[in-house]
Symmetry: C2
Subunit: 465 residues, 2 copies
Amino acid sequence: MSDNAIIQQNDSRHELRELVSSQLRLLLERNNLEGAKALLLPVQHVDIAEAIEYLPPSMQLIAFRLLSKTEAIEVYEHLDSTVQQSLIEEFKRQEVLDIVDKMSPDDRVRLFDELPASVVSRILEQLSPAERQATNLLLGYEEDTAGRIMTPEYISLKQTLTVEETLDRIRSLAKASELIYYMYVTDASRHLVGIVSLRDLVLHSPSRTLTEIMTQDVVYVKTDMDQEEVAKIIQRYDFLAVPVVDKELRLVGIVTVDDVIDILEQEATEDIYALGAVQSDGDNYFQTNLFTIARRRVTWLFVLLLTNTVTGGIIGAQEKVLEQVTILAAFIPLLTGTGGNIGTQSSTVVIRGLSTNEMNDLGPVRVIFREALAGLLLGLILGVLAGIWAYLLPQTHKNPVVAVSVGISLVGISVLASVSGSALPFLFRSFGLDPALMSAPFITTAVDVLGVLIYFTIARTMLGI
Amino acid sequence: MSDNAIIQQNDSRHELRELVSSQLRLLLERNNLEGAKALLLPVQHVDIAEAIEYLPPSMQLIAFRLLSKTEAIEVYEHLDSTVQQSLIEEFKRQEVLDIVDKMSPDDRVRLFDELPASVVSRILEQLSPAERQATNLLLGYEEDTAGRIMTPEYISLKQTLTVEETLDRIRSLAKASELIYYMYVTDASRHLVGIVSLRDLVLHSPSRTLTEIMTQDVVYVKTDMDQEEVAKIIQRYDFLAVPVVDKELRLVGIVTVDDVIDILEQEATEDIYALGAVQSDGDNYFQTNLFTIARRRVTWLFVLLLTNTVTGGIIGAQEKVLEQVTILAAFIPLLTGTGGNIGTQSSTVVIRGLSTNEMNDLGPVRVIFREALAGLLLGLILGVLAGIWAYLLPQTHKNPVVAVSVGISLVGISVLASVSGSALPFLFRSFGLDPALMSAPFITTAVDVLGVLIYFTIARTMLGI
């Protein structure tokens, strides 16, 4: 076997996955189970999981049963929650024990979060007592907290052990632990007193004790800390894992860096959805039905419908002005559009800044002031341009009323939009709400109302109505 | 020292950082350098870096010089790029050698990316030949590729080594390597043939050779792979690092998981900014001046100003209709607002789906069809409600023309908005452009034009004009 053949061509890794997927289906359709088994042997677990997801539901269980016991657990952990769910409903009691009982408690809890309560309680009954207890412990913590996402599969050691004794212990414990690169040193009452890395063990002489080599300044998190904050701590300190302690500061679990990546992605999606006025709950797009999708969007649309009626009401009250200078109506979309866009820009920058902590330590006053200045600058540029354009338009008959109203309103609306776009996220945060809820459509609509009011007030004043 | 005192209270970690920051300033103001040194001794590097960032610029170099040589390198790597830059300008030649020469090549390259070319070439001259070569190698790769962000500090081993010999080698190499949990096995021509983890070494007997215990199915990336794809691979396989190979498949570096977290955050920020019509370049908000901020936003606003003039033109051409039924103008913001919001919702879901790969393997047809149905459903709900409301409004004098025009337009606009909101990101991607550029404001404006056209066409038809 040549060296190059050993290494899979990574460029073609994606095509390879697709090939595995289609080959697997073909073999199963021909009922060639041995061939399918042989096909999956050298494939990575996460890729097998994906291949199974793409199979028609009727074949998923057949394909899954081709895997060895240890492989089955790993592959099952990587499956999408809906596929996990449909498989579990067809599992025999023994399969539940073979797979769900052997999963990491944190992966199992993630699965249980997606299953109906009745299914969860049925499976819990079938688990071994130790795993049932571990699962119930995690389920006892609130969703999206360190306690809920941690794994209790870590290595804890007494500080009197030597490096050699520790390495012996690791050899026996490695299989039961998710991450063996960090080990946690605890006292008799399970309080965390230090941390030792596998690197430390390898680099120090076998006779040293853990007390001598451990790091005592341990950064830890409490069980009730929000998962986003946990992720930020691992990100900040470049950790591979962070220990989790309970109220009495006893070590109860660890959160690992691979979970953190998924959490950060999920939180970014939530922010993006909130900015786009879509409610999110982390579900897969194609596994939610149309009515759920509509329900998640309609709430915001109702709010906007209501606030828009206010704008409509203001315009409706300007019948006299509009009858006199109908062309004024032509500039309404320009004004509300620009206001909405400038407001969106300011709120986008502020919401992201708060979420990545870039703005957290700076007061809102400086940010709002800067945004107001940026709004003024943009408003002046756009106001002059739009004013000249309005004046030259044939329909306005070089009427200065329209040109001046458009120009001045644009400046006012820009400042207003940038101030509200930057201030409202801070306001939301001070009320303990998610700043991202202060989404673009909300600001757009708020600015619409005020923008139209400014526009017609200026026009009316100039026309003397 | 009691066990509990050893563990820092994490809840108060944030306050602790602030305390360090203010104490440091106080001590420096009183010129108590020994006190400042003692204060920083037990503090984590990243926290020291933050404390220095909050100092007035005149004190930053003084504080930095309190650190030991090894600490100084670590702290410097964590400093914000502008602070790094201002320090480097004041460094003496010896300090450049002590710090910049000792930095990891990947961190150094990240620093050089921010510095003016003249400063970079001056510093490059002062580096030791080996470090200069390593830096030039990385700088030779394009920005945002695996080659540019990788570190050449990895451990590579021959496959004939035993576990015991390997552990001995690691002990001597550990300091020069960023991550010692994975080791890479290469042949005589530096081709990657396998991977061994520190876990494997600890768990296997000392006499086994690497050939026997290594994993041969290595997932690797090429130097020209986009950093976002590299991040996705580490995320997908839950790796701590991924090896990088050149065109001849020779191992040239590794990318580690801590860098991946920062990349994913940066890419999410870029997406969020694009959705909010703000150009981003990863700069710190308060280190960019007002004109740069305005410049980044004004491009989009010009585009919107132009397209809005089209909407304005369409409305301007409806003078006859508007003169006859002035109240029609009052519903323009409602229609354009709703269209913009529904379009934003669809594009948000699709853009995020493409970015997290959730939708990549599904064809655009299914997605657009689903979104069209969702748009129809939402349009029907909103259309009926808004129609009734328009009919009952005193200003409309129960005029069915207005109510029917509003209702039917809302349905049409909603479908149009959801179709364009979901189709345009796919279109952009097929042209090789970033789907996120297909941002909310763009869709809003496009829908505005068509929405107003539909509205007035229906109204005109009903009025027989």
